[in-house]
């Protein structure tokens, strides 16, 4: 295999990894503030892609307006899920919330199966995102270049929010100590809603890019990316935002390169993320960026 091809695959891996990273941030932030693995998060991404397809093909919005609407609408969906399903269980045992999250996941998948049917819909790709670039013999789809750039931009904005705004600082405080955050006069429920809004909007962005890369969407499309993003969040250190991004990149690159270097393994491509997950859990359960579990997050 020559360097050009490896370089090309590396870029593809980077693009795929950015998608996992975008979704993983939602897992990691929600875990950070309420110690819940939100297994419905992959399905929130799926909801985002359906909102996007409706915005483009029913509301006939231009792509940028459709994407903005998708991001805000999905944020709202995430906040509503928290209010209805998780908030009543805030003081219940963690396993109850976890089971509820799996329930929400099944509910969303089946709700969308009922509404839209199981036949995959094709996602309309704006011309801007469909071209390819040729750089010194490396052939790159435009989308594979845009995705990592946008993902990194979102990550930078998020890190700015977490360190320079009072709600961001409060999220980090909350990840350490909920009661003391209340004592500061901060409305913890509002901050948790904000976290769900951020996580879900990033999942929506991930979903849109996912659909642009693999333009066939169905109600179960969120499961596999959701699980891999979960693996990415654990690999990076659950609770750590930069960790989620790094974990996403690693899993994306490993998946693509493994298949590129050993084509007979193509059928096992979904297994690599979980293989990594198993190794992390065996040898460094706190993940790459994870610290002591009691020391607060982000």
């Amino acid at each position: 295999m020559n360097t050009t091809l490896i370089l090309q695959q590396l870029f593809n891996g980077l693009a795929l990894g950015s998608l996992y990273g975008l979704i993983a941030i939602g897992y990691t932030m929600v875990y950070g503030v309420i110690r819940l693995i939100n297994f419905a998060h992959g399905d929130v991404m799926m909801v985002g892609t359906y909102i996007a397809i409706l915005a483009v093909s029913v509301l006939l919005l231009p792509w940028w307006a459709a994407f903005l609407l998708t991001i805000f609408a999905t944020a709202f969906v995430g906040v509503v899920i928290d209010k209805i399903a998780y908030k009543p269980l805030r003081n219940a045992s963690r396993i109850s919330s976890l089971i509820t999250a799996i329930g929400v996941s099944f509910f969303l998948e089946n709700l969308f199966l009922v509404i839209f049917g199981g036949v995959p819909k094709s996602f309309p790709i704006p011309a801007l995102f469909s071209g390819t670039l040729h750089i010194k013999g490396v052939i790159l789809p435009v989308i594979s270049i845009i995705v990592p750039i946008v993902a990194l931009a979102f990550l930078a904005i998020l890190m700015y929010i977490l360190h320079n705004t009072k709600y961001g600082i409060a999220m980090r405080a909350l990840s350490l100590d909920m009661d003391t955050t209340r004592l500061m006069g901060a409305n913890v429920d509002a901050i948790i809603s904000f976290v769900f809004a951020i996580g879900s909007s990033l999942a929506a962005a991930g979903g849109i890019f996912w659909a642009l890369k693999y333009p066939s969407i169905n109600p179960l499309m969120g499961i596999m990316p959701g699980l891999k993003a979960f693996a990415a969040a654990v690999l990076g250190g659950i609770g750590s935002v930069p960790g989620a991004a790094i974990g996403g990149f690693i899993i994306g690159i490993v998946e693509i390169l493994a298949v590129a270097l050993f084509p007979p393994l193509a059928g096992y491509k979904d297994a690599f993320a979980f293989l990594l997950l198993i190794f992390v859990l065996l040898f460094k359960p706190t993940g790459i960026m994870g610290e002591d579990l009691e020391r607060g997050r982000f």
Binding site: I169, A170, T181, L183, M184, G296
Partner: protein, 233 residues
């Protein structure tokens, strides 16, 4: 300023606070003393809105029992929790920012100045994580953070816990100084000797009930208190 009447706190079947009543008048230091598990912390948590309670809690004439903790904080009650609970993952400045969560941006700068004037050690380390501070420094930070919201009632839960005697004296000096500038203080302490020295009025809590109350000076000389809480034979 604060009037507590018939306050009950339950944790499941455990009756931690059993119908206690006490007052904290404006400008005074009132202390609740008592052994570990007497219900002191539960009382403060109930006032701050962190645990559910029954009875009557009036602050500046408003009924605050059952209100959410952040609303009570915004009304002007600040609790320095037991064990300090500084946000170890945030810098000192960020901890102070959290303390002044509901302050406008323009109000913050003078409040930081005030905090750094009171606790110069915090200024030197403003951008360090609070987790790197010593226990005494963390107590100073917890106090400074509580003052950022400019409370009218400051509640302190065991501020001397786990601190060297020299630091304890420093903390109590600061509390006394704050009080001399008009701050009303509700102090909960196991270290009864120190607490009674700076307080105006004191209540003794035993097994969730108030068994004794008097001027702090009088309690210092009370034989029963001396035996039970001041370690005299």
């Amino acid at each position: 300023m604060l009037k507590v009447k018939d306050l009950d706190v339950y944790y499941g079947v455990i009756h931690a606070v059993k119908g206690i009543s006490f007052n904290v008048p404006e400008g005074k230091i009132v202390t609740l003393i008592g052994a570990n598990g007497a219900g002191k912390s539960s009382t403060l948590k109930a006032i701050a809105g962190l645990v559910k309670s029954k009875g009557n809690i009036k602050f500046l004439g408003h009924d605050i029992r059952g209100k959410q903790a952040h609303k009570i904080s915004n009304m002007g009650i600040s609790l320095v929790p037991e064990g300090r609970h500084v946000f170890v993952n945030l810098t000192i400045l960020e901890n102070l920012r959290m303390g002044g969560f509901n302050k406008k941006h323009s109000e913050l700068e003078p409040l930081y100045e005030k905090a750094f004037e009171l606790f110069p050690i915090l200024k030197e380390r403003a951008n360090q994580k609070a987790g790197t501070l010593s226990g005494g420094e963390q107590q100073m930070l917890a106090l400074a953070r509580a003052l950022m919201s400019e409370p009218s009632l400051l509640m302190l839960d065991e501020p001397s816990l786990g601190l060297a005697p020299k630091i304890v004296a420093e903390v109590f000096d600061i509390v006394k100084m704050l009080n001399s500038k008009g701050m009303t203080v509700l102090l909960v302490e196991q270290n009864a000797a120190q607490a009674l020295k700076i307080a105006h009025y004191a209540y003794v809590l035993e097994n969730g009930a108030i068994t004794l109350e008097d001027e702090a000076k009088a309690l210092l000389n009370n034989e029963q208190v001396r035996k039970s809480y001041l370690g005299e034979m």
